[in-house]
């Protein structure tokens, strides 16, 4: 049967840039009073346009049209800000489009809802029912699956304990168990949001495979091209809010990689979040050579410094800074670190303010080539404050230790130089066993 299960027609989502509104009633009244008398608005900053209608707008999505058939697994790829998340928000009905419409057959569930509505004072049992109902299950449905959910979460003996006494692992297991038993017709998986938590990421991917083999529809958002290629037959590439490619994953991912690998940089700045509600955010990321200089490309034979500057608007407990270095070719994670791994005291409260965190990557670890950086701020496993990814940098070898040996590039991801110890054996018959045969 070829009836479509999702039909999106010319979706457009527009955000207004700049100040969205006056934050206080007083400001609004003052500007209203001034307009009334034909005077310039006293609350406007110089250079801002006077009418709210003519403020610059930004199309997060522009005229997006696509159909999805039942049982299809579609990958959505694109750089940060390409509109992937906005599209998912519209499909899961969290944000409304400004133009166009989506029609859907069946229930949509996204794994980003894990633990939504959990109340710390309520017991595990009560939370399973509450969370299930928030996700759209009826009481009967939850009752039928309750035992299965508890078994999956492996917390049977604590099911009548308030969840505030749970460890974070138990908490996330229970939350995930509920989401996993929702059995939606359409499952949305946003890999970006599961950063830093491999256990969870693996579970998500596992769940996705299950859902797929049951013949249901999956929408998968990821930066991991290998995963997209493996899991999805079809992919849609978004750029600046538009669909630029829609077809076989192999073709679309190639297009995407061709797009992004051309640019490498060594310093990135990020705009502060405008809503002011973020608990922690990254302001800058940078790569420096051993002498604190920034370059177009970095030497294989020199140490490399990777760092980020972040801001905490308020004191925070349990913050971790995570960093991953991914190979550009197949997006596999090569190195993954958090700043609290070796020093647990970092999980103590950090005061509000600006911080800079950096690491030194010893020379001759990363082989020549292009790498991609992913940095993030999170707390525990549930709360991800800010993730920045797709920061590309290049390692070259102009001194030529690789060239010297006579190869263009060693056929390995790492360029580790481990010392060889070579000794002459005392006797010729080194393998007495071999003689016995």
């Amino acid at each position: 049967m070829s009836r479509v299960i999702i039909s999106a027609e010319s979706l457009t989502k527009t955000y207004r840039l700049g100040v969205i509104n006056h934050d206080t009633l007083r400001g609004e009244i003052r500007s209203w009073w001034a307009r009334k008398r034909g005077l310039p608005d006293p609350t406007l900053k110089i250079g801002n346009s006077p009418s709210p209608r003519s403020r610059p707008t930004f199309n997060a999505l522009e005229d997006i049209t696509f159909d999805v058939k039942p049982g299809e697994t579609v990958g959505f790829i694109g750089k940060n800000g390409a509109g992937k998340s906005t599209l998912l928000k519209i499909l899961s009905r969290v944000a409304a489009p400004n133009k166009g419409r989506v029609r859907i057959r069946g229930r949509v569930s996204s794994l980003l809802e894990v633990g939504t509505g959990f109340h710390p004072e309520l017991t595990g049992r009560e939370n399973v029912y509450l969370n299930g109902a928030i996700l759209g299950m009826t009481k009967d449905e939850i009752r039928r699956k309750f035992d299965e959910i508890v078994a999956f979460a492996e917390i049977a003996e604590f099911i009548d304990t308030p969840v505030k006494r749970y460890s974070s692992g138990m908490y996330i297991r229970l939350a995930f168990a509920v989401a996993a038993h929702l059995e939606p017709e359409i499952l949305i998986v946003d890999e970006v949001l599961a950063v830093g938590d491999y256990e969870f990421q693996r579970k998500c991917l596992g769940k996705m495979k299950d859902v797929r083999t049951e013949g249901r529809t999956v929408l998968f958002v990821s930066h991991n091209m290998t995963a997209v290629n493996n899991l999805c037959v079809r992919s849609i590439l978004l750029e600046k809010g538009k669909i630029v490619a829609d077809g076989l994953s192999a073709d679309v991912t190639r297009t995407y990689l061709g797009m992004s690998s051309t640019r490498t940089q060594s310093h990135w700045q990020f705009a502060d979040p405008s809503d002011g509600r973020k608990r922690a955010y990254i302001r800058e990321a940078f790569i420096l050579d051993a002498d604190n200089g920034s370059r177009e490309a970095y030497e294989l034979t020199q140490d490399l410094q990777i760092g980020l500057r972040y801001r905490l608007p308020e004191p925070i407990r349990g913050l971790t800074v995570g960093l991953q270095i991914l190979s550009e070719e197949n997006n596999e994670t090569l190195i993954s670190l958090t700043d609290s791994e070796l020093d647990q005291s970092r999980l103590e409260t950090r005061e509000a303010g600006d911080y800079v965190a950096h690491i030194r990557v010893p020379a001759r670890i990363l082989n020549t080539g292009t790498y991609s950086l992913r940095v993030g701020l999170s707390r525990g496993r549930q709360e991800v404050f800010h993730v920045v990814e797709g920061l590309n940098f290049r390692i070259i070898d102009s001194v030529g230790i690789v060239m010297f040996i006579g190869f263009e590039r060693k056929g390995s991801l790492l360029s580790l130089q481990l010392p060889w110890k070579v000794e002459k054996e005392p006797r010729l018959t080194a393998y007495p066993d071999a003689e016995a045969v």
Partner: protein
């Protein structure tokens, strides 16, 4: 023929997500579909609010009782305000009960959008589910308080106090419906406005207090000076509180015109609140 076909095809979609501009009516059917969630939220609110307290649900009763005792001492004993021939304690208790139910509805629906922003940003369910469940849990609290009130009234009657509940007391549910409507209407309106103007949060406490003093709770309507009467009559809660006392205690019968006016205003306020909420629930995630 063509149009009929498209219409049929439309019908078997389970979800249609329209653009922001194309929705005006509150999603009442959605709330019904999610009635299990309503029930669970009500349960969560009432269970979670007294966990780890010593007195538990007793607090629901202590609150209006304390207010009534304070009013009895300050306004009854010290200021010696007349109470329409009723025992001051009953007079204040009746007014406080009715008012606190209204104020609780306003207060707790007024932060619907801001308090639930983190849930709303992750998962969809008809947003109206939250204020509806709030009102139901308020109604349960009111029910407990009302039971205590009835007991108190019976004790007073047994001891010969001049209390004559009206036969129209069977219409009490209608009155409660009206008070709820007015409360949700005001609450939802404030809720949509606070997504833009945070200052309203601070003003709300004072506004409610002022509102209470323009409602005949600590004084009887009969004692209001002629020149202020218009202000008191303008207040839709005047008739509600007055009716509540009349139905249960038999004093200060309100006029029909007052009741009609109050009902009409409450309906309009509810309509305004729902209209604003329906509009803003879909856009506020972009602005908050």
């Amino acid at each position: 023929m063509q149009s009929v076909n498209t219409k049929e095809a439309d019908n078997d979609w389970t979800t249609v997500i329209d653009s922001i501009e194309s929705r005006y009516l509150p999603d009442v059917r959605g709330v019904w579909r999610y009635r299990d969630l309503v029930a669970l939220l009500v349960r969560r609110d009432s269970v979670a609010s007294y966990k780890q307290t010593l007195l538990g649900p007793l607090w629901f009763v202590i609150q209006p009782l304390m207010t009534t005792i304070v009013f009895t001492i300050v306004f009854g004993r010290i200021a010696s305000l007349p109470t329409d021939g009723l025992s001051p304690f009953l007079f204040y208790f009746g007014g406080v009960l009715c008012w606190q139910y209204f104020a609780a509805n306003v207060n707790r629906t007024s932060d619907t959008l801001s308090a639930n922003a983190s849930i709303y940003s992750k998962v969809y369910f008809p947003r109206l589910v939250t204020p509806v469940s709030t009102v139901i849990s308020n109604l349960i609290v009111f029910g407990i308080q009302f039971a205590v009130f009835v007991v108190v009234v019976c004790v007073f009657m047994f001891r010969g106090a001049p209390v004559r509940p009206s036969i129209f007391v069977i219409l009490l549910p209608v009155l409660l419906l009206q008070v709820s409507a007015c409360g949700i209407g005001v609450g939802l309106t404030i809720s949509t406005l606070t997504t833009r103007y945070r200052d309203l949060n601070f003003m709300l406490g004072y506004a409610l207090q002022l509102w209470m003093y323009t409602t005949p709770i600590v004084y009887p309507l009969s004692q209001v000076p002629e020149k202020w009467l218009w202000l008191i009559y303008l207040n839709p809660m005047t008739a509600a509180v007055q009716t509540f006392r009349y139905l249960l205690l038999g004093s200060g019968a309100p006029s029909i015109s007052m009741i009609v006016y109050s009902a009409v205003v409450s309906t309009l306020v509810l309509g305004l609140g729902l209209a604003l909420f329906t509009r803003v629930e879909r856009t506020f995630m972009d602005t908050i």
